[in-house]
């Protein structure tokens, strides 16, 4: 350990120690914070620390992209969703139904860490350097080298990422779109369907999961068998109504 730190200059060591502290402290904050908003802010700290280590290792462009894309876009998206859904209340490590799970998770984490460190110590790297160009040179900056590699050797994966982004955008639109009820001519009135839904709730004292599934199944079954009208999207829409009524019943 001493020999590994022998030739390190003081500024390099200082930057590394500060970056490591920011990274690990931020990561612990993400895991341990009760409030998801605070967790997202700790995630920003971790991302900045990682960007700092990128800067120190000749990855200038990636450090900038790390700050812009991760810290600027992804975390803001997280915060948007947290505040849009209003789940920024304290629900954290206090109430955990599975007592054994946390213990096992820590054991798994320690085993994972030990495995990674042992595997890294074996040093599987073959030593064959510069298969696709050097990281840094005295004449060409890092961003030019990276762009050369991306737009020549890795052009096909780059275009595949374009397709991936388009697919992600379309998927997000499809998922976020509010579903509309697709019914052609005659439509079962909501009061009828709610009566049908309420039946299993009143009869059986089953758990929440059982009630939800039963109500969903009975809803779809009633839509097709009783009246004979095919209802396409009623199954998904019907899930909202019994959930609300169950909550009211549990409150009263």
């Amino acid at each position: 350990m001493i020999t590994m730190l022998a030739n390190v200059t003081v500024p390099d060591a200082t930057v590394f120690v500060i970056a490591s502290l920011i990274i690990i402290g931020g990561a612990l904050g993400v895991v341990l914070n009760r409030n998801p908003v605070h967790g997202a802010l700790c995630l920003v700290a971790t991302l900045f620390g990682v960007a700092l280590t990128f800067l120190e290792q000749n990855a200038d462009f990636l450090a900038a992209v790390q700050v812009i894309v991760y810290g600027g876009a992804i975390v803001v998206l997280f915060l948007f969703v947290i505040m849009l859904l209003g789940v920024d209340k304290s629900e954290g490590l206090g109430k955990e139904p599975l007592k054994l799970q946390r213990f096992l998770a820590v054991i798994v984490g320690c085993g994972l860490l030990a495995t990674i460190l042992i595997l890294a110590h074996i040093n599987w790297a073959t030593g064959a350097t510069s298969a696709s160009g050097p990281v840094s040179s005295t004449t060409t900056p890092n961003i030019n080298l990276l762009a050369n590699s991306i737009f020549t050797s890795y052009l096909l994966p780059f275009e595949a990422t374009a397709a991936l982004l388009v697919i992600a955008v379309v998927g997000a639109v499809v998922l976020a779109r509010r579903r509309t009820v697709v019914v052609s001519d005659s439509f079962e009135s909501p009061s009828d369907s709610q009566d049908v839904i309420h039946d299993p709730d009143g009869d059986s004292g089953a758990s929440d999961s059982g009630q939800d599934e039963e109500s969903g199944v009975s809803d779809s079954a009633s839509g097709t068998s009783d009246d004979g009208h095919p209802q396409i999207d009623r199954l998904f829409e019907g899930n909202e109504e019994p959930q609300d009524t169950e909550e009211e019943e549990s409150l009263t």
């Binding site: 060591a13 120190e56 462009f61 991760y70 798994v108 990281v135 590699s149 992600a168 976020a176 999961s209």
Partner: protein, 101 residues
């Protein structure tokens, strides 16, 4: 002389383990997503470190692609979370029991 790459790999391993433990421990799906981001960042850090150690730009190219995939994954994942919240009024992993088959 700058810091040896081994130290960065140690930090990367610790970060990955913290992310994995958080993914196993937490119940909120949003926090689980953040822990996945932590793990992705740990892998990115390892890639950049190996790129410097082996003097090979391919490691940084992989990090670039991982960034793109992470962005796409977050977009779709948060869309799924919003969709689940609409129908279930909650975003914990227990609200996803409809997926248990």
């Amino acid at each position: 002389m700058s810091i040896s790459g081994n130290w960065y790999l140690v930090v990367s391993a610790i970060l990955f383990s913290i992310g994995a433990v958080g993914l196993l421990v937490r119940k909120s799906v949003l926090v689980m997503f953040m822990c996945i981001e932590l793990m992705l960042n740990a892998v990115n850090l390892a890639f950049v470190t190996y790129a410097r150690m082996l003097n090979d730009i391919a490691g940084q190219v992989v990090v670039f692609f991982v960034l793109v995939v992470a962005a796409a994954e977050v977009v779709v994942g948060l869309g799924i979370i919003v969709s689940i919240y609409r129908s279930r009024r909650g975003t914990t992993a227990d609200d996803l029991h409809i997926l248990h088959g």
